[in-house]
């Protein structure tokens, strides 16, 4: 249904459309970063396209592509037209550290979407008037949706309670995430692993530590004694 949008874009912009793809009626075009705003303006202003509904802007991280010398990120936005009842997705490749021109001058709705992509991926949008974190807190270091952000890394704003300075202890181990994830299901189904919280099961030898966080936790637990000995 939106194939005519791609045809129209190709007729107006010609070689600026580098690549097109279609999957079950979802059309996508890829453009160079320098044509990013121009494509957006054509999409909005051309009377045959009339894209007046900003849907979303997001990004995808491909760290392995950077190793091959390719740009690391995909940045893509989706827009649609209420009158013409068609939609399209536009994609571009962005290198790490490269600025993307803002689309807030074309669709005001891009404001928060660009802030979110900045917050999650660290991609900066040149010309954005208020580019600061939108979901994470200002103290947060790094960009959590980059693939190289460690999966176990948390940055608490409130220091976690320590067993020593509390009157009450939880009925399960400190630092415990979740009792039902990272479970060794083969062990469980074989009946060797009771459904207890992982930290207790590790302590009693019922199961081995599975996650990196548990190994790190065990190492962390040893440290205070060593520092006390010094």
């Amino acid at each position: 249904m939106s194939a005519k949008v791609v045809k129209k874009l190709q007729s107006v912009l010609g070689d600026a459309i580098l690549e097109t793809s279609s999957f079950r009626g979802d059309e996508e075009v890829r453009v160079a970063l320098k044509d990013w705003v121009r494509v957006a303006q054509v999409l909005r202003d051309d009377p045959e396209l009339a894209m007046n509904h900003w849907t979303d802007l997001t990004a995808v991280d491909w760290p392995e592509r950077e190793v091959e010398g390719q740009p690391r990120f995909d940045v893509l936005f989706s827009v649609r037209s209420f009158e013409k009842k068609h939609r399209i997705r536009v994609k571009t490749y962005v290198k790490d550290g490269e600025d993307v021109p803002t689309l807030t001058t074309v669709w005001a709705g891009a404001n928060w979407a660009e802030r979110e992509v900045f917050d999650m991926f660290g991609i900066r949008f040149a010309g954005h008037r208020d580019l600061r974190r939108i979901l994470m807190y200002d103290e947060f270091v790094g960009y959590p949706l980059r693939k190289d952000y460690p999966i176990d890394r948390v940055q608490p704003l409130v220091e976690y309670r320590d067993a020593d300075d509390t009157l009450k202890l939880p009925p399960f181990g400190i630092e415990e995430g979740q009792p039902f994830a990272r479970v060794d299901w083969e062990e469980r189904l074989a009946g060797r692993d009771e459904q207890v919280s992982p930290s207790i099961a590790v302590q009693t030898g019922q199961r081995r530590a599975l996650s990196d966080s548990e190994i790190a936790e065990a190492q962390f637990a040893k440290k205070p004694e060593e520092s006390a000995a010094e």
């Binding site: 994470m136 952000y149 890394r153 948390v154 940055q155 608490p156 976690y160 009450k168 979740q178 459904q195």
Partner: protein, 193 residues
């Protein structure tokens, strides 16, 4: 109400009873809990169900929600607590006057649930002490009332040890599941396994 001794006597037939002051105070406290609902996520819906007439938390004298921590006795942490919300939750807990209790409502509040990532606190007990844990995603209102009754029992006994609402075993379900049922640690029966 702890130790109660009833004495009937006197020429005109009047009667009275004796008890310890702490028991009387605890009895009064457990039937007049003012609650602060810190509802952040989908568990909040289940909390409303508990508070509404069908399950009727008012039966336990706990019907009065107070949206000022200074006037409340029980902090209900209902739902996922993100790292960003941590300081607000801790501050509210610190503003409550003693004696105060905390109920962790649902899996996310108790241990982070499936949000095992950069954004969520893996259980509110990492930042504030918790008295009663109610597991479930979300817990059924019956489990919540179980938790409230556990809390009342703790208040009566003066016990500050954290407790967990244990899963209920439904014999018919255990039979249906047959040998495929997984063993449940704690209060669960292993007959079905």
């Amino acid at each position: 109400m702890g130790e109660v001794k009833t004495i009937v006597g006197g020429s005109s037939g009047e009667s009275f009873f004796t008890t310890k002051f702490e028991s009387l105070l605890a009895w009064a406290r457990k039937y007049s809990l003012f609650q602060y609902p810190f509802a952040t996520a989908c568990c909040g819906m289940e909390f409303f169900a508990v508070a509404s007439p069908r399950y009727d938390i008012a039966r336990f004298g706990a019907e009065a929600p107070r949206f000022s921590p200074r006037q409340s006795d029980v902090l209900w942490v209902v739902g996922t607590i993100s790292q960003r919300q941590g300081p607000a939750l801790k501050r509210i807990y610190e503003q409550m006057a003693e004696p105060k209790w905390v109920v962790s409502f649902g899996t996310c509040a108790s241990c982070g649930g499936f949000y095992d990532n950069y954004t969520t606190i893996p259980g509110v007990d990492k930042i504030i002490p918790v008295d009663v844990y109610i597991p479930g995603c979300p817990p059924r209102p019956e489990a919540v009332l179980d938790g409230l009754m556990l809390l009342m029992e703790k208040i009566q006994k003066g016990n500050r040890e954290p407790v967990t609402v244990l899963p209920k075993v439904v014999p018919e379900l255990a039979q249906l599941r047959g040998k495929r049922a997984l063993p449940i640690a704690g209060g669960g029966s292993k007959e079905g396994a």
